[in-house]
């Protein structure tokens, strides 16, 4: 039991904890979207995938009693959605943004429908890794209860960066995303590369959903994502299609979610709507500072969103 109050130290602690707790879904979805967009397709439907992942992880964890099976189920749900999106969005004269919006509605609808019986029961949660044993303060111990999924996400970010920069497969994806004609001349199947990228990206987004329902906040409800999937898609642009920067951006947004409640708990009572809007204000500011009238966004795949 916490017997001493942390006072103002609670704010940075809450933000740090929020980064690790709340940032995980952002991290997975933005990494998934980064992979997808590098191949030249946009998948807005990851919001639906995130919800579906959260629902299936919770349901499977509840039914089987094993949270890790839930995580796998969430990934598989993501794969199915990825297959649908990857196939549909590559049909002639089909717009991937429109398909993505349809997939948001489809995914959330299916998740709400199948998830009805799982709102009430409590499913077993993922075990956390406690890095705070050195501290005698319960708040610190609680803040350092880190989800293995978070560590996984942090490991995937540099790995994906290396994959894009230094491997042959990474080169194929970048080629398909930047210049599909060149890729075709190289003998690479555009359809297959994009399909695999979309499916892998959706898989990651599904895992992100598992983090929502099996770690933090740790339940299935229809409002559990409240737009985080869409926000993570936007994060990719903010991160200039760089996996390492996706990591920083996700941490930033995760931490910002904790700002409003943490400030209220130390007695800053006014303007919590404003603090809740802090991540968006920050995004706008960074976009304004980093934009330049002389060039387009650096790092954008050349064929992104075009009909090739």
């Amino acid at each position: 039991m916490a017997t001493e109050a942390l006072g103002w130290w609670g704010v940075p602690l809450a933000i740090a904890a929020g980064m690790m707790r709340g940032g995980t879904p952002f991290l997975f979805v933005s990494l998934g979207e980064c992979l997808t967009e590098k191949s030249g397709k946009i998948n807005l439907g990851l919001e639906g995938t995130l919800l579906m992942g959260a629902m299936s992880a919770y349901a499977i964890s509840y039914l089987t009693g094993s949270p890790w099976l839930g995580v796998i189920a969430a990934g598989l749900a993501g794969v199915i959605f990825g297959l649908i999106h990857g196939w549909l969005s590559q049909q002639p004269r089909v717009n991937d943004v429109a398909v993505g919006i349809a997939m948001i509605i489809f995914g959330s609808g299916i998740a709400f429908f199948l998830g009805k019986p799982f709102i009430q029961p409590s499913a077993p949660q993922l075990a956390t890794i406690n890095l705070g044993a050195w501290s005698s303060l319960p708040p610190v111990q609680s803040a350092l209860q880190i989800s293995p999924l978070f560590l996984l996400g942090v490991a995937i970010a540099p790995l994906m960066h290396w994959f894009f920069q230094s491997t042959r497969w990474g080169l194929f994806i970048r080629a398909v995303g930047d210049s599909p004609e060149a890729a075709r001349a190289m003998g690479v199947s555009i359809f297959k590369v994009r399909m695999l990228s979309v499916v892998a990206g959706s898989f990651l987004a599904g895992i992100g959903g598992a983090s929502l329902s099996l770690y933090y906040p740790g339940l299935w409800s229809e409002r559990v994502s409240s737009g985080q999937g869409l926000m993570a898609v936007a994060l990719v642009i903010f991160a200039h299609w760089n996996p390492i920067q996706c990591l920083w951006a996700s941490l930033l947004f995760g931490g910002a979610q904790a700002l409003g409640p943490a400030l209220q708990s130390v007695g800053i009572e006014q303007g919590y709507y404003l603090f809740n809007a802090a991540p968006y204000v920050l995004t706008l500011l960074i976009m304004i500072i980093t934009c330049s009238p002389k060039r387009t966004l650096s790092g954008a795949p050349g064929a992104l969103g075009t009909d090739t």
């Binding site: 009805k116 339940l219 409003g260 708990s265 007695g267």
Partner: protein
């Protein structure tokens, strides 16, 4: 190219299809119109009640409490038919839901339960359908300004929060309680204030930290708020959000106590759950159903427009006490409960100051629960750390 061939439809086929759909639509419409007119011959024989919830029906919270109430009515009377729709947002979507309940399902009594449904949605539909009666859960109805077929019902659940406050003050070791509210509206403020007054009635030095998340269902924000409060040494948490599940589970994870709201949440926090303020809508809905069955209605005033009640009227109940509640706490809580039952307890008994030091209830005043002044509450009493400004 082959795809296009497959999907190619001639103009004639398209027109035929459109005509068929329209014809089907019209006949289906006539069909339901006729059947409800036939069935409506003896209007008081069958009562169709429509319930609209803002979230899912089993959320351990506000909506579950209402859905249990609705299910209770169907069980008690065989002449009641209910139509329900869950997860309807507080937008024009609720108008469509109400319209289809009235036009297609033949509902004559509607219970749109969420606070934000009232203005402008219920008001608009009430003007359009003057024969349908709208009962809104909340305190927004005002005599004279709003249509005559609208009523508001709400319970003095802050009585239960007062008792929860007594239990919380007895159990807390740090003397710091936490309250997670959605928005600083009168009902939420009244719960926070009554909870605090109850706590301070047994231990005057106890404080309540209030945090507003900004909306009715924001699981991540609620978890963050609960964690932040635990970091600040708060050891009893309660809340007024649509689904208290996150708050209760987070409190249990952090090893602190919790006090429930809306429905029974004992199962979510077996160790730390103290007690909880639960709605008892079955008795309220049954009463309204019986009145309507007997031919009474809002339009001629035979059903009052403002339905209110506390423990004595069966609007709320307390959860079973948890394992951490001491004998002393139980005694004090039961004493307060008995006083609410016989009507001798007045929570807002002057002099009460707000947390800026201004007097909000004069020493000479004693505001009974029914006092409409309390429904316009816009302050937090002394002992609450927080502010009503957004």
């Amino acid at each position: 190219m082959s795809n296009r061939k497959l999907l190619h439809l001639s103009r004639r086929q398209v027109i035929r299809g459109l005509l068929a759909t329209t014809a089907f639509g019209i006949t289906a419409r006539f069909g339901t119109g006729c059947s409800s007119a036939e069935g409506g011959g003896g209007a008081t024989d069958q009562v169709t009640m429509g319930f609209i919830y803002v979230g899912p029906k089993d959320d351990y919270g506000y909506n579950q409490a209402h859905a249990e109430g609705a299910a209770g009515v169907v069980e008690s009377f065989d002449w009641v038919k209910i139509v329900e729709e869950a997860s309807v947002p507080e937008t024009t979507a609720v108008e469509e839901s109400m319209r289809s309940m009235i036009d297609i399902d033949g509902a004559t009594v509607l219970f749109p339960t969420s606070f934000g449904y009232f203005d402008p949605h219920i008001l608009k539909l009430a003007e359009e359908y003057p024969d349908v009666q709208f009962f809104h859960c909340g305190g927004l109805y005002q005599e004279g300004t709003h249509p005559v077929n609208v009523a508001s019902y709400f319970g003095y659940i802050d009585e239960a929060q007062y008792i929860a406050g007594i239990v919380a003050a007895h159990t807390s070791k740090t003397g710091k309680l936490g309250f997670i509210g959605a928005k600083p509206i009168p009902q939420v403020l009244r719960n926070i204030n009554s909870f605090t007054l109850g706590a301070r009635s047994v231990k005057p030095e106890v404080t309540t930290q209030a945090i507003f998340t900004g909306d009715w269902a924001l699981p991540v924000k609620e978890a963050e708020a609960a964690n932040s409060m635990a970091d600040q040494g708060i050891d009893v948490l309660t809340c007024h959000v649509d689904s208290p599940k996150v708050v209760m589970e987070t409190a249990e994870k952090r090893g602190i106590f919790s006090s429930g709201y809306h429905a029974d949440q004992t199962a979510l926090a077996p160790k730390g759950y103290l007690t909880g303020a639960e709605w008892d809508w079955t008795s309220v809905y049954s009463k309204i159903a019986e009145d309507i069955h007997a031919g009474k209605n809002l339009m001629d005033g035979s059903i009052p427009h403002i339905l209110r009640g506390g423990l004595a009227e069966g609007f709320w109940k307390l959860s079973e006490y948890g394992p951490a509640v001491s004998e002393q706490a139980k005694q004090d809580a039961e004493a307060a409960k008995a006083a609410f039952m016989d009507g001798s307890m007045v929570i807002y008994n002057g002099e009460i100051k707000d947390n800026t030091g201004a007097v909000v209830v004069e020493a000479s005043q004693s505001l009974k629960q029914q006092d409409p002044v309390l429904e316009q509450m816009n302050y937090l009493v002394e002992g609450v750390i927080g502010s009503v400004a957004s």
